[in-house]
């Protein structure tokens, strides 16, 4: 069982800094997902872990052992690649056993036994005698997984393993991977650009951008308490709305609206603990960006009064998504997306009255983009309004 520790890890390619001094602890048996846009350094981080790239600076430890300069083969990690990396001229079985036979650490009987086990776990017994060209994408990836698990490595490193599969297969394989991890319990570092994969698979998720770590957290906390604008906008689809506001007298003030910012009693330990952003500062006149997710806006039932302010929004485009209706609106000079009930009768050009969930407001510093306020920490369950929307 293995813990992985990165300390001030840096990788420079000529003039480009791919990984910029990151610190990260992967716990024993954890499924950790690294997610980020293209070029954020997530794959480079994984390759540094595998030893396929050498670090410019910093340390990589596995179980406390410094492996920064250790050869890939001596790190006892198995990697699964996006393009499967199966040897095209070898059968499934030979693909799985080739590496084991090369290392010379395993006897023939041991290899046989392990292949049978892996084939059983992954349900690939009938693929063992086929060559990759006679397998589908999902089957190839299963054989590639088989090759990774037979060696019983200390850690699995997966580099976008599902990206080449079609949508349906990807969802199946996602579940398969989750099942595999719960069976084997091997420490896994998984790189993806797909936030859905990150949220569904990861016990913890690392969000990276520009070679740095933006936030490391459990998926739901990442969604509820994003540490900065980047995480807030990257996680969640459709993305969080960002509206520039001024903070005045405990309110977020925009030309088109003013909304009160709930604040728990000062010194409430629960609030400070849940918030994760440390000391709150709703100083008057502070320039900020208000973040509201599209699903946290709602079209209220005009017959009820929940006491919340109403904001006038002009609908520009309506996008029926089946399970919901996405309205691209303008609120004053700000544009924002509102997720409404699927069959809401609203057309483009109409002005609607929108309200919001007061427990789901986020404020980010206008300059640094760091979050400094999440209203959820300040609103008790009892205070939250019952969602009501116009059907």
């Amino acid at each position: 069982m293995t813990t992985v520790t990165l300390r001030n890890l840096r990788k420079k390619f000529d003039d480009v800094v791919a990984v910029d001094g990151i610190d990260l602890d992967v716990e024993d048996g954890e499924f950790l997902v690294i997610v980020g846009p293209s070029g954020c350094g997530k794959s480079t981080t994984l390759r540094l872990l595998a030893g396929l790239e050498s670090a410019t600076d910093g340390r990589i430890e596995m179980d406390g052992r410094d492996v920064t300069a250790v050869e890939p083969k001596d790190r006892n990690v198995a990697m699964v690649f996006q393009n499967y990396a199966l040897y095209p001229h070898m059968t499934g079985r030979r693909n799985i056993t080739f590496g084991m036979k090369s290392s010379g650490d395993f006897g023939d009987e041991e290899i046989e036994r392990r292949v049978a086990e892996a084939a059983d776990t992954l349900d690939i017994a009938d693929l063992l005698d086929r060559k990759p060209e006679a397998m589908s994408g999902g089957e190839r990836q299963r054989v590639a997984l088989g090759r990774a698990i037979v060696r019983d490595p200390d850690a699995f490193l997966m580099d976008e393993p599902l990206s080449n599969l079609d949508a349906k297969l990807r969802i199946e394989m996602r579940a398969e991977l989750a099942r595999l991890h719960s069976t084997l319990g091997t420490t896994t570092v998984y790189v993806t650009h797909d936030q859905t994969e990150a949220m569904t698979l990861g016990e913890r998720v690392v969000v990276m951008n520009d070679g740095g770590i933006m936030q490391v957290d459990e998926p739901q906390r990442l969604y509820d308490f994003p540490a900065n604008r980047f995480v807030a906008e990257f996680i969640g689809d459709p993305a969080m709305n960002m509206i520039p506001v001024d903070v005045e007298d405990g309110r977020a003030v925009h030309d088109a609206f003013e909304i009160p910012l709930p604040l728990a009693d000062a010194g409430d330990p629960v609030a400070a603990d849940r918030n994760g952003v440390g000391e709150e500062s709703l100083d008057d006149g502070r320039r900020a960006v208000l973040g509201v997710r599209p699903e946290d806006f709602r079209l209220p039932d005009p017959r009820t009064d929940d006491g919340l302010p109403r904001i006038d929004a002009t609908v520009n485009v309506r996008e029926p998504l089946g399970d919901s209706l996405l309205l691209h609106c303008s609120i004053g000079d700000a544009s924002c997306n509102v997720q409404a009930a699927p069959r809401t009768d609203v057309g483009a050009g109409e002005t609607v009255s929108v309200t919001y969930d007061p427990a789901r407001l986020h404020l980010f510093d206008a300059e640094t983009g760091e979050a400094f306020y999440h209203s959820e920490a300040h609103v008790s369950e009892a205070e939250r309004p019952v969602p009501a929307s116009v059907e």
Binding site: A50, G51, L52, P72, K73, D74, V77, A78, M79, F81, Q82, N83, Y84, A85, Y87, P88, H89, F98, G99, M100, S102, S103, R147, R151
Partner: protein
């Protein structure tokens, strides 16, 4: 010339279309006519050689002389047995095989080094390898001749093979192919602890089979057609190669008895080995040229 290329291109396109019924109209009789003219233009000299090799004297003065004669068996027997042309063919074959194998070994290692190893100034090294292409072989003949004499290799198979075992072209083609193999395959092997030799034998070479066969054919034809260098360095008749040996089939030239039919029989014989190889291995050969285009 561009017009000719256009014709050829159209012809090839027409042939391609021929396979699908939908566009079969594209292959008009005109296109076929053009193609036949082109094919005949290429085949004509070879056909003449084959026909002449069946004649008694082989002197062509009229169109009527271009009908096959009845001396085929006699001419070929005379060339192979009396003039020991079989011996020359055998020498050529040995030379070509040694060159092909030697080139393959050297080039595979060189390309592997250039592609998979971190060498200081690697690009410069590769550029230097390519640079040798700019130096025509005949330029090296004088110093090479001296060197072969100093080594005592004159008149041996070493003299006509060793100078040819390094090939920039082959290194280049193999390098391009190795680069087209996904990096993740190499990295998987690295993570599995597959050593370089094992990687070469069990991964790289099997994955390069087509290209290796393709370049082997090209190299074989190139080696088989060596003329100038064997002419210079080999002066014993027993060790001579077929291309030079053709000249010995001329017979009593001084006496005005130049036997064209024998020369053409020899020429036809020298054509056969490369032709057979090309027919048998035409598929990998075409694939290799595809890779070069990438």
């Amino acid at each position: 010339m561009p017009a000719l290329l256009q014709y050829a291109k159209r012809g090839v396109d027409a042939l391609r279309r021929d396979r699908s019924t939908e566009t079969v109209r594209g292959a008009s009789p005109g296109t076929h006519l053009q193609l036949w003219v082109l094919v005949l233009a290429v085949v004509f000299p070879v056909a003449v050689a084959v026909i002449v090799s069946t004649k008694e004297t082989g002197v062509v003065t009229s169109l009527g002389d271009l009908l096959p004669g009845s001396y085929a068996v006699e001419n070929y027997r005379e060339a192979l047995v009396d003039y020991r042309f079989g011996r020359f063919m055998w020498n050529s074959l040995a030379m070509s095989l040694v060159i092909v194998v030697g080139k393959l070994v050297v080039s595979v290692f060189a390309a592997m080094a250039v592609v998979y190893y971190r060498i200081p100034y690697k690009d410069l090294v590769f550029l230097f390898i390519l640079f040798t292409l700019l130096l025509p072989v005949p330029v090296r003949f004088v110093p090479l001749f001296q060197l072969m004499n100093d080594l005592g290799w004159s008149n041996t198979i070493l003299a006509i093979t060793v100078p040819y075992v390094a090939s920039a072209t082959t290194v280049f083609i193999l390098r391009q192919h190795f680069l087209s193999i996904p990096a993740s395959i190499v990295e998987t092997a690295k993570l599995d602890g597959v050593g370089p030799l094992r990687f070469m034998l069990f991964v790289l070479l099997p994955m390069s089979k087509g290209v290796l066969v393709g370049v082997s054919i090209i190299m074989f034809v190139y080696a088989w057609n060596q003329y100038l260098w064997p002419l210079i360095i080999i002066d014993s008749e027993a060790n001579q190669v077929a291309q030079v040996g053709l000249q010995l089939l001329q017979g009593d030239v001084q006496g005005g008895q130049l036997s064209w039919s024998l020369v053409m029989a020899g020429s036809t014989l020298t054509l056969l080995p490369p032709l057979l190889l090309m027919i048998v291995f035409r598929k990998p050969l075409l694939k290799t040229f595809n890779i070069q285009q990438k």
